[in-house]
């Protein structure tokens, strides 16, 4: 017989079984072609309802014969009919995925993990600090926050986002559109550029954060980026007065099961896949730095 889990006397679906999806669109995001965004559509429309998610969650992208990779969900739950994932070409599965085309069939398993505690942030200011391609679940968050049904629930939204060069920024069209709006403050920056027409900031994310000095008053900071950016941004945020309970980060670790069972993504007693990926800095300060 087919074995499925039973919860409260009810047979539920196997948590390891991916939903079949079709690649609807592939967008090359960066000039080095190492980052592509994949737009997936569920083959079975009813699966979309089962895949109800929150900004900050991730999913396992599954390619039959290659394996699975844990990737943050870049689309927002307010965007219906598709899912977006931005994938860096790194290993076996991501390299294979980068060579797949629109129309091909693969799988998505999730949503997995916890999410940004946006409910706690209602009525508060939100500061988003991001670097490189760790901007994906924060794109999800921004799109969610800017949705007319949600925007009024939050106060000021400030985004500081940087990449090495203008060509390495992801979601360029959306960034430009957000930059032009008056209900969100967007500070785009690059480490350096020789483009004479560059009209945004130049400088590392921590330095731009210090310069723009978003207020910590009644505010939460969501921080996502490479370890070096995190290392230098943390003291800046502390100087601005953000407490470790209000600095929220998202971790990555190697994963397989994605549901807290296989053991490898553990950070002390916590699993990044199940207890995370979102942790407050206060929580991380109580854990070994095994990430």
């Amino acid at each position: 017989m087919i074995i499925r889990p039973i919860r409260g006397g009810v047979v539920v679906e196997n948590p390891y079984l991916p939903y079949p999806v079709r690649i609807d669109q592939v967008i090359t995001e960066t000039e080095d072609r190492n980052l592509k965004t994949f737009k997936f559509v569920f083959l079975n429309p009813e699966d979309e309802e089962k895949f109800a998610y929150h900004p900050g969650q991730f999913a396992e992208l599954s390619i039959a014969g290659k394996g699975e990779i844990p990737i943050g969900i870049a689309s927002s739950p307010t965007e219906k009919g598709f899912l977006l994932f931005t994938v860096n070409k790194t290993g076996l599965v991501t390299t294979f995925l980068h060579n797949m085309r629109e129309g091909e069939i693969m799988g998505v398993r999730g949503p997995l993990g916890n999410w940004y505690p946006l409910d706690q942030m209602e009525g508060k200011n939100i500061v988003i600090v991001a670097g490189g391609f760790a901007f994906t679940t924060l794109r999800s968050t921004i799109v969610y926050l800017l949705n007319p049904a949600n925007r009024s629930r939050f106060k000021d939204i400030t985004v500081i986002y940087g990449a090495r060069t203008p060509g390495m920024l992801i979601y360029k069209d959306e960034l430009a559109a957000w930059e032009a709006r008056d209900d969100i403050k967007v500070h785009i920056t690059v480490d350096g550029t020789d483009d004479p027409d560059w009209k945004y900031n130049i400088g590392f994310v921590p330095a731009i954060t210090e310069k723009k000095a978003p207020s910590s008053q009644d505010a939460f900071a969501l921080v996502c980026g490479p370890p070096i950016m995190i290392k230098f941004t943390q003291p800046v945020l502390e100087k601005l007065g953000f407490s470790s309970e209000r600095i929220i980060m998202s971790l990555e670790n190697r994963m397989k099961c994605g549901i807290g069972l296989c053991g490898r993504c553990s950070v002390g007693p916590e699993f990044v896949c199940k207890d995370g990926p979102v942790f407050t800095l206060a929580k991380l300060n109580t854990l070994p730095k095994e990430y």
Binding site: M1, I2, I3, R4, P5, I6, R7, V12, N14, P15, Y16, L17, P18, P20, L43, S62, I63, A64, G65, K66, G67, E68, I69, N88, T90, G91, T94, E104, I105, M106, G107, P227, E252, N253, R254, K256, C257, I259, G260, L261, C262, G263, R264, C265, S266, V267, G268, P269, K274, T286, L287, P288, K289, E290, Y291
Partner: protein, 347 residues
């Protein structure tokens, strides 16, 4: 719970009878070792052993197990879509399992079947098993079950517990399932004399376990204090990261997931994995949070003796079977590490 006395002849006849309802699994000589294996035909379990080399955890979580199947045939409209596989659900009776190994299933169950998530294969693998355990009249020198919440005649993980009284077996029911089986089986109610013999056997076995390991302070130790303790350097020094301890351990459950394709047909499977290997945690970027041997050795002991203790409030994730002590090629002894952790005082 009832108990009965069966002559060894009655016991063997009962096993034959039980074969009608169960696939029989028991200790069997495999080369130079005893391991648990299906007992084909009428072959009897070899019950005069100290303990099997491998724990019988593989009958719940096999070393390698199929999860899904798929085709990559471009002609097939279902190509690249993973499909569930029919699973065996017939009942199995494990005869002669040691109390420690049976108790290990209770400890591991908290990971695989809990209010948050349920692993369908682990649950089914476990539900298939009825455990007829054999109490340890003659524990190994490496055993320390009595220090970690078990004992040589502990029935907490079992359906039935056997006491070997030379000519007879005294069999105790330890679960409702076990009681139903025992009621329907042969044998007569044990006499006071039988019970006295069984109690003596138990006391003698418990007293023969010399190792005394303390676990009472583990819960109260500060997590980061233990993590940063200086003794890990010395504990890990001789370790060669062979992973033998994790493969033999009845409470090590970590696994890997891999796809295999042959021709146009493929499977997704899971395999035992080990926190002793650097690949276990290696990021795609090349970064490795447990790239150093000391980090991996510490992870294994911290998981069993601190993280599990804090997370489930169910004691340590070790049943004291002593296999890792016995088979470690460089003589790392979990009893000593546990004592170091328990006694540690941060400066």
């Amino acid at each position: 719970m009832i108990e009965k006395i069966l002559s060894k002849k009655e016991f063997n006849d009962w096993l034959k009878e039980l074969r009608k309802s169960f696939e029989m699994i028991g200790p069997k000589t495999q080369g130079e070792q005893i391991d648990f294996a299906p007992l084909a035909g009428d072959s009897a379990p070899e019950l005069s052993f100290q303990n099997s080399r491998l724990s019988p955890k593989g009958f719940v979580q096999p070393a390698s197990e199929k999860m899904f199947q798929f085709t990559v045939n471009p002609e097939d409209p279902e190509a690249h879509i993973l499909k569930e596989i029919l699973q065996e659900t017939s009942s199995r009776l494990v005869v002669g399992i040691r109390p420690c190994d049976a108790r290990a299933f209770n400890l591991v169950q908290l990971n695989f079947v809990n209010p948050d998530i349920q692993d369908p294969w682990w649950r089914q693998g476990r539900e298939r098993l009825t455990l007829m355990g054999l109490g340890c009249s003659n524990p190994c020198s490496t055993c320390f079950c009595t220090s970690v919440g078990g004992g040589p005649f502990d029935g907490s993980g079992l359906d039935l517990l056997m006491f070997d009284l030379d000519q007879d077996y005294l069999i105790q029911a330890c679960s409702e399932n076990g009681e139903a089986l025992l009621k329907a089986g042969p044998g007569k109610t044990s006499t006071e004399e039988d019970q006295k013999k069984a109690a003596q056997l138990k006391t003698k076995a418990e007293e023969s376990i010399a190792a005394q390991v303390s676990t009472d302070h583990l819960k109260d130790q500060p997590l980061l204090g233990l993590f940063n303790a200086p003794f890990w350097d010395e504990v890990q020094f001789a370790c060669i990261n062979c992973g033998t301890c994790t493969y033999l351990c009845p409470t090590c459950w970590c696994f890997d997931i891999q796809d295999e394709v042959h021709g146009l047909e493929g499977i997704r499977m899971r395999n035992w994995d080990s926190c002793m290997y650097p690949l276990f945690t290696l990021h795609g970027s090349g970064h490795n949070p447990r790239g150093e041997k000391v980090q991996r050795v510490r992870q294994r002991f911290m998981h069993k003796l601190k993280y599990y203790v804090d997370k489930y409030e169910n004691g340590v994730a070790c049943v004291g079977c002593g296999r890792c002590v016995q088979f470690c090629p460089v003589n790392i002894d979990i009893r000593r590490v546990c004592q170091l952790m328990n006694d540690y005082k941060a400066n």
